[in-house]
């Protein structure tokens, strides 16, 4: 019934940005995880999830994002989130995600912090 999540990846020097568009549920979360693990396998250790196009997410989708955070911690990489709706940001704080992943107001602030050499 709902359209699937659309995901776009922008590979940059040492940083990959994943743009989401749509609902992040279990399928959407798994799609993000597949893309993130592929990027990690390609050597990326800094990932940014730009959620500008996502207005709703559920706890199953967020649980899959926690798996990605766990993987990033294992490789001593960093995962950041930017352009969240106030409700998604509040939810991430309720769950404590902000302790393990950067939350930035916009992509400029995120890339300034996550880009290699920043």
């Amino acid at each position: 019934m709902t359209e699937g999540l659309k995901l776009t990846v922008d590979r940059r020097q040492g940083l990959a940005v994943l743009y989401t568009d749509g609902y992040i549920n279990n399928q959407g979360g798994e799609e993000i995880a597949r893309a993130a693990y592929e990027l990690i396998d390609q050597g990326y250790t800094q990932l940014l999830l730009n959620l500008h196009g996502t207005k709703i997410i559920n706890s199953i989708g967020i649980s899959i994002l926690i798996e990605i955070i766990e993987r990033m911690l294992q490789i001593e990489g960093r995962l950041g989130f930017c352009s969240l709706t106030p409700t998604i940001e509040k939810t991430f704080h309720i769950m404590g995600l902000a302790q393990y992943a950067g939350i930035y107001p916009d992509e400029a602030a995120a890339t300034a912090d996550l880009s290699p050499g920043a």
Partner: protein, 144 residues
């Protein structure tokens, strides 16, 4: 202070099927907008409703596979509070036995899930859960 009355009540019966939580989300948005909640509060209500629905879909094991939602706008003359009741006729659970999840433990655990009730409590002002052998009722309210 005068007691709040139901200014509007909407009932919705949903089949427990994939993506039906989004139908509940649309209904929650419409009622919260009718109650003249801010855009952020509308968003918080709809996210809490989505969580309550997927909890019921996943854990109720209701034979009838039907979820009942009631949206009630309360107020004296103007909308003041929105209450959403989500009821299933499943097997029930013991709310007091549900572990409060914490991110440190979840990062190490194989099972990362189990956040629904914590999210609902964090987004709504008042949440009551009643559960027994005849099902579970979650009543969650938020003031305007």
């Amino acid at each position: 202070m005068p007691e709040q009355a139901a200014l509007r009540e909407i009932r919705l019966l949903l089949p427990m099927a994939p993506d039906m939580e989004m139908v509940a989300s649309q209904a929650a948005t419409a009622v919260a907008e009718f109650a003249r909640m801010s855009a952020d509060k509308v968003d918080e209500v709809r996210m809490a409703v989505v969580e309550a629905c997927i909890n019921a879909f996943e854990h109720s094991h209701a034979v009838d596979k039907v979820l009942e939602l009631t949206f009630t706008v309360l107020g004296t003359t103007e909308p003041e509070t929105l209450c959403v009741t989500v009821r299933d006729h499943g097997v029930g659970f013991a709310p007091e036995c549900v572990e409060d999840p914490c991110i440190e433990a979840k990062l190490k655990a194989e099972r990362k899930r189990g956040w629904g009730i914590k999210i609902i409590r964090g987004l709504m002002d008042n949440v009551k859960i009643q559960s027994g052998a005849d099902g579970t009722t979650v009543v969650m309210c938020k003031s305007r």
